[in-house]
């Protein structure tokens, strides 16, 4: 089966679509400083929940301690919420926030 140039053009026009990429903003998991949780405990919890190497756990813990908070993970909202609940269940002050 063949189509005339005119009808082919028409068909191409009908099927032409606009491709839009919808980019969802990542969500951040924040851990907040508190005056009582021992630093070593924070490191152990980061290692257990995220599986980060020891050096990264220490660096994140020190950021929390010195700057009052640290972004410990960033990505899809459902995973961010999951990690946040794990951190809270381990007794850390944590929350999620959409990237601005």
């Amino acid at each position: 089966m063949t189509t005339s140039p005119r009808s082919r053009l028409s068909t191409e026009s009908d099927t032409d679509t606009i491709t839009r990429t919808v980019t969802k903003k990542p969500w951040k998991v924040l851990v907040w400083d508190d005056p009582v949780t021992p630093m070593r405990v924070v490191e152990v919890i980061f290692r257990k929940i995220f599986g980060y190497p020891a050096a990264k756990c220490t660096q994140l813990m020190l950021t929390v301690h010195h700057e009052g908070k640290a972004v410990v993970w960033s990505g899809a909202q459902d995973r961010a919420v999951h990690y946040c609940t794990q951190l809270q269940a381990a007794g850390l002050m944590a929350s999620v926030e959409e990237e601005s």
Partner: protein, 141 residues
């Protein structure tokens, strides 16, 4: 003598006397009670908002947190009389004790080291005792 000692096989031996175990056991009991009782004085501090910018948290997320807490604190309760803990049990002890610490901080509005120093001596001793246990456990994990 250290309160906890990591053995060669990775397990953790517990060196608490009767009073120490009673103290820790009572904390685990309180954590389990606070999870289940919305009127418990620790309940609010143990259940902070997950997404503070939202009007309310997703019930599935709060259920997931509750399940995780229950899993840890009930395991801690079950193993209170053990002389040796595996790393998973020791982690459950650590997180349950840390939850109790978190709840105490929330209850007494402790925001910094200074406010800790101004606490009632009995509460301060309670906080310091939990911290000692946490230091010991964290060093073994």
């Amino acid at each position: 003598m250290a309160l906890f000692k990591k053995k060669r096989d990775g397990s953790i031996s517990v060196h608490l006397n009767g009073a120490g175990r009673a103290f820790v056991g009572e904390i685990f009991n309180q954590v389990v009670a606070a999870e289940n009782d919305p009127d418990h004085e620790w309940h609010l501090a143990m259940n902070p908002p997950i997404n503070p910018s939202a009007n309310s948290d997703d019930p599935l997320a709060t259920f997931s947190r509750q399940k995780e807490m229950a899993s840890n604190s009930e395991l801690a309760q079950m193993t209170i009389n053990e002389d040796t803990l595996n790393p998973g049990e020791a982690y459950a002890w650590m997180t349950s004790l840390n939850l109790a610490l978190r709840a105490t901080v929330g209850l007494h509005n402790l925001s910094d080291e200074e406010s800790l120093q101004m606490l009632d001596p009995e509460v301060r001793q309670y906080v310091v005792s939990i911290q000692s246990l946490l230091f010991g456990l964290a060093d073994c994990l």
